[in-house]
């Protein structure tokens, strides 16, 4: 028997395919490509890991970053998410697509991480790997928010966004999750409901309440 890493699989799934799949409201639990990818993951194939990480790293990282508010925590929880997915791949029944399954694991992991962190009364950490000068400078994506705006407007934008993120960080976790998934990640109600394993009605209710709390925190009109 060949070693698992040499299992010949043709991984035709790509990141684009996974992203476009999210736009579908009703979809079969697992496509042929996803089944193939899942088999590769179960077999411990390096190629399958490459495809999995390439396809899902960015959306998951952004979700976790907005949920946890810290890039290092987001990276750590993202790693835990992928490891959990690998460990649980053998028992995953394929009742939802891989993206929803990963979101489900990531949110559970983020909730656990937050609980663990709060139980130790920690507020922030400084990564030993972080370059202080690099951290202070705005990232490329942040400078691209309003490319046509003048520096003053850009500064105002950044300040306003900092206020939004601060208000978001103060929301209760359940409300923060749905607001981030809906309003920042642009996910459908059905996808959010599937990822959180709650009803669509509950999703809508939480989004409405989360938005109301944010408006209050940011002094915005209802």
């Amino acid at each position: 028997m060949a070693p698992a890493s040499e299992v010949p699989i043709s991984l035709s799934i790509s990141a684009d395919k996974v992203d476009t799949a999210s736009l579908e409201t009703i979809r079969p639990p697992l496509s042929a490509a996803e089944s193939e990818l899942l088999e590769g993951i179960r077999a411990g194939s390096h190629a399958a890991f490459e495809v999995l990480v390439t396809a899902h790293q960015k959306p998951l990282y952004n979700l976790l970053l907005r949920l946890l508010g810290n890039p290092d925590d987001a990276a750590d929880v993202l790693q835990e998410t992928f490891l959990s997915a690998y460990r649980g791949a053998s028992t995953f029944r394929g009742d939802c697509d891989i993206r929803t399954w990963l979101y489900r694991i990531a949110i559970r992991r983020a909730a656990n991480h937050r609980r663990w962190w709060r139980s130790r009364r920690q507020t922030s950490t400084i990564s030993l790997d972080t370059d202080v000068v690099e951290e202070a400078a705005p990232s490329l994506s942040e400078t691209l928010v309003a490319p046509n705006a003048d520096p003053e407007q850009q500064a105002l934008w950044r300040e306003r966004q900092a206020q939004v993120l601060a208000a978001l960080a103060k929301l209760k976790f359940d409300f923060r999750v749905v607001v981030v998934m809906r309003d920042i990640r642009g996910m459908s109600y059905e996808d959010i409901a599937a990822a959180l394993e709650i009803s669509v009605g509950t999703v809508k209710s939480r989004i409405a309440r989360g938005r109301a709390m944010l408006r209050t925190a940011l002094n915005l009109p209802a």
Partner: protein
């Protein structure tokens, strides 16, 4: 009520920039997965099988607890007998009324056992459920002679001990010996189901 119409808040939230993950993160994640897979392959088969079937561990533990609970609920324990069984120099035999059969005693290095004509070396199950009789402890001398040393239940009195001794004289015992053949004094416990010896 849900309100999904665009507002200033929607604009602010949708303008939150998408962040590109750190460059090294992709490699870190793939390496972590490769290492985990390697570790998974190197792990022994049965712990991995157990890890993949956590419910079975739960079922096993549940069954063990249930067995423990039920066994403690339904199996009567008669303390004098239990104590004697646990004592390595004792063995328990049942002598039914009017028994004239020969009982042979053999002593092993660690645990003596008694055999009757039918052969049993532990307390018969039906006796443990009927602790209303009389427990007699007798000593078997190397000469093969047996004498009563104690009557545990229900009451020991001189007349009863004499009656038991009388009954013991009606039985024949082989001397107890160690595995090397040396004779030794051994003790046995009799459970007398019917107190016929009184008469």
């Amino acid at each position: 009520m849900t309100n999904d119409t665009p507002t200033d808040l929607d604009a602010l939230l949708s303008a939150v920039p998408e962040v590109t993950p750190p460059v090294h993160l992709h490699q870190r994640l793939v390496t972590a997965l490769d290492l985990e897979a390697l570790h998974h392959r190197q792990r022994n088969t049965w712990p991995r099988w157990l890890a993949e079937h956590p419910k079975l561990i739960g079922y096993g533990l549940g069954l063990a607890v249930a067995t423990l609970l039920f066994s403690s609920l339904f199996v009567p324990v008669w303390h004098p007998l239990g104590y004697l069984v646990a004592e390595p120099n004792y063995a328990i035999v049942h002598v039914s009324q009017g028994s004239g059969q020969q009982i042979g005693l053999t002593l092993t290095a660690t645990r003596p056992y008694l055999t009757s004509g039918k052969g049993f070396d532990t307390l018969p199950a039906r006796l443990s459920g009927q602790p209303g009789g009389m427990l007699v402890i007798a000593e078997i001398l190397p000469s093969g002679e047996a004498r009563c040393v104690d009557v545990v239940e229900p009451k020991a009195d001189a007349a009863l001990v004499a009656a038991v001794n009388q009954a013991l004289r009606g039985l024949t015992f082989c001397p107890a010996t160690r595995p090397d053949g040396r004779p030794v004094t051994a003790r046995i416990a009799f459970y007398l189901e019917h107190i016929a010896v009184r008469g």
